[in-house]
C-alpha cells in the first residue's frame, strides 16, 4: 500500500514562520498523503482556517505577529473542531500545560523525525474523528429521547381544513348514531 493511500489523511494547516522548518514539515506531511496549507504568521493562519476548515493544525508557538497560544485561543473561540498540535523547542512542563489548556491535543518537540510527526498526527486525527462520531451519536440520542418523551402525533393536524374535516366526520358519525336509534325506535 502506498503511503499516500494510507487511511487518516486529512487537511492539515501548518503554522511555521521559518522557511526551512516549514519546508521540512510540508515535505513530510505531503509524503504522508495529507493536504497541506502553510501559514507563516498567526493572522494568515486564522484567515486560512476560516475558509478552509482544517482537520488538524500544527502550530509553532513563536510566530512573528501573535503567539501560537493566541492562535489556538482564537481558533477555539471561532468554534474550530481541528485537532491542534503544538510544535515547540521548549518541552518544559509549563509550556506543555498551557498548550493543553489552550486546546492542544498533543505537542511535538523540535527537531522531530517523520515517524514522530506521523504517529502524533494520526492519533490526533483519530481522536478528532471519534469526537465527531460521539457528537453525532449524542445528537441522535437526543432526538430519539425527545421524540419518545413527546405525546403521540395527533391524527388530525391543527390547520383549518383538518378541523373542518374532523367536524364533518363527527357530525356524520352523530347522524349515523341518531339514525340507528331512530330505526331501532321504530323497530320497537
Amino acid at each position: 500500500m502506498s503511503e499516500t493511500a494510507k487511511q487518516g489523511a486529512g487537511r492539515v494547516l501548518l503554522i511555521e514562520d521559518t522557511p526551512t522548518q516549514a519546508e521540512v514539515a510540508k515535505a513530510m506531511l505531503a509524503t504522508m498523503g495529507h493536504d497541506v496549507r502553510h501559514a507563516a504568521t498567526g493572522a494568515e493562519a486564522l484567515a486560512i482556517a476560516q475558509e478552509w476548515q482544517p482537520d488538524a493544525v500544527l502550530v509553532d508557538l513563536e510566530l512573528p505577529d501573535i503567539s501560537g497560544f493566541e492562535v489556538m485561543r482564537r481558533l477555539k473561540a471561532r468554534g474550530s473542531k481541528a485537532a491542534m498540535i503544538v510544535l515547540t523547542v521548549n518541552s518544559g512542563v509549563e509550556n506543555v500545560v498551557q498548550a493543553m489548556r489552550e486546546g492542544a491535543i498533543d505537542f511535538i518537540v523540535k527537531p522531530y523525525a517523520k515517524a514522530r510527526l506521523q504517529v502524533t498526527l494520526d492519533n490526533a486525527l483519530e481522536n478528532r474523528a471519534l469526537r465527531a462520531e460521539l457528537t453525532a451519536v449524542k445528537e441522535q440520542l437526543n432526538t430519539f429521547v425527545t421524540a419518545a418523551a413527546s405525546p403521540p402525533a395527533r391524527r388530525y393536524g391543527n390547520d383549518r381544513s383538518s378541523r373542518t374535516r374532523y367536524a364533518i366526520g363527527a357530525l356524520v358519525f352523530l347522524a349515523a348514531v341518531l339514525g340507528l336509534f331512530l330505526v331501532a325506535g321504530f323497530g320497537f
Partner: protein, 134 residues
C-alpha cells in the same frame, strides 16, 4: 633544504590521517539529516537544502545588521530562527552556536559569534550537499 622526517614521525602522521575522521564531530546529525535524505525524494531534499541556504544568508545578514545597530531583540529573533532552521536539517554544530548567541546566561559578543556561525554554516551546507549527492 627540506626538513628531514623521522620514521617515527611518519607513523604518527599516518595514524592521525587515518584516525582523524573518528575524532572529528560531523557538522550534521545523521539521525536527522540522513533520515530526511532517506525519507524524502531527492529533489525535495535538494529543495530543502536550497531553502536552508537562503535562510542562512538572510538570517546571518539580519544578525550582522542587528549587531551593528545594537538591536538586541532583532539579534535574538534572528538567532532563534537560525537555531530552528539548523535543527530542522540536523545542522547540530550550527544550532549549538546559534543557541549560544541567544543565551543570556553566557553572553558572547557578536564579533566572536558571527565568524563561528559563518564557519559552521559553510560546514553544514557542504555536508548536506554531499548527502544530497550534489
Amino acid at each position: 633544504m627540506p626538513r628531514s622526517v623521522t620514521p617515527g614521525r611518519r607513523v604518527i602522521d599516518l595514524g592521525w590521517v587515518i584516525m582523524r575522521p573518528l575524532f572529528t564531530v560531523s557538522a550534521i546529525d545523521p539521525s536527522i539529516a540522513g533520515q530526511l535524505a532517506d525519507d524524502l525524494p531527492p529533489e525535495i531534499f535538494r529543495r530543502i537544502i536550497a531553502t536552508f541556504e537562503a535562510d542562512l544568508a538572510r538570517l546571518t545578514g539580519e544578525l550582522t545588521q542587528s549587531a551593528g545597530e545594537g538591536d538586541l531583540d532583532g539579534y535574538l529573533r534572528a538567532a532563534h530562527s537560525l537555531a530552528g532552521a539548523a535543527a530542522a536539517v540536523g545542522a547540530r554544530r550550527l544550532e549549538v552556536e546559534a543557541r549560544t548567541a541567544m543565551d543570556p546566561a553566557q553572553p558572547v559578543s557578536p564579533s566572536e559569534v558571527l565568524p563561528r556561525l559563518s564557519a559552521e554554516s559553510r560546514s553544514a551546507l557542504q555536508e548536506l550537499h554531499q548527502l544530497a549527492g550534489n
